[in-house]
Amino acid sequence: MIFTVMVNEGPYQHQSSDSALAFTRAALAEGHTIFRVFFYNDGVNNGTRLAVPPKDDRELQKEWSALAKEHDLDMVICIAAAQRRGLMDASEAERQGLDANNIIDGFHISGLGQLIEGSIQSDRTVVFGD
């Protein structure tokens, strides 16, 4: 089956990122296809490379990043939600005249159309949020 996964809450504050990560791993392990993972609302915060959780805690952003690399996942951060919350890739930071960027490998910034297209192309859309 083909899935699009939507993550609407930030890491640590809420369980939805952990649950979405577990779901995505399980779906891949069962041989399903993840068409896209789309990060919206505070979910965009899953894509920062500047998080430094305590040593005895999990590193959610790095886990997503590693999963994307391992399975060549298409992981999209919504640009409108990202701009509000200060998530920037290099080209967007340059376009906005900002002095830094903070996106971790494996994520890229794009528009909400990617969510709609993902849901059209997938058999199921699974939303993780509050």
């Binding site: 609302n41 509000r84 909400l112 159309g113 709609i116 297209e117 059209i120 859309t125």
Partner: protein
């Protein structure tokens, strides 16, 4: 591209959190994809389409007028759960007048809002292909 039934489930009050505003942003983008779009308002979500919203005191943008524009995007299936209204002391009269123009009926203005029971809402939701829950 295939046409699917997309349902936007709105459960939260319009201010206090960003969910209502960002849900509306998805709906407006989705309108360009020529899919079959419905909106559901349940729980505190019914406040999103309440009449007479005024955000002067809280420093947030009053985006309620955007719901009135949905009809212009051919988004005219808006389901509101009756029990959620009842539980908040609200009736249909407390909701904005959301309408659309039917081009097959000489552009007659028709109501977009349909008030349904909780049981009917379950049927409406079961009939969809994609659910986005906010």
């Amino acid at each position: 591209m295939a046409t699917k039934k997309f349902m936007y489930v709105n459960r939260k009050a319009p201010y206090g959190t960003v969910y209502a505003l960002e849900a509306l942003e998805v709906v407006l983008i989705a309108a360009a994809f020529e899919q079959d779009i419905s909106l559901a308002f349940i729980d505190d979500g019914v406040y999103q389409i309440a009449k007479g919203q005024n955000t002067d005191g809280i420093g947030m943008k009053n985006f309620s007028a955007t719901y009135k524009a949905l009809g212009d995007y051919d988004i005219n299936k808006i389901f509101v759960e009756k029990e959620s209204l009842d539980e908040r002391g609200m009736t249909a009269d407390d909701l904005m007048d959301l309408v659309w123009e039917d081009e097959d009926d000489d552009w007659a203005e028709k109501p977009s809002i349909k008030i349904v029971s909780r049981a009917e809402m379950a049927d409406v939701l079961a009939d969809q292909d994609v659910h986005y829950s906010f």
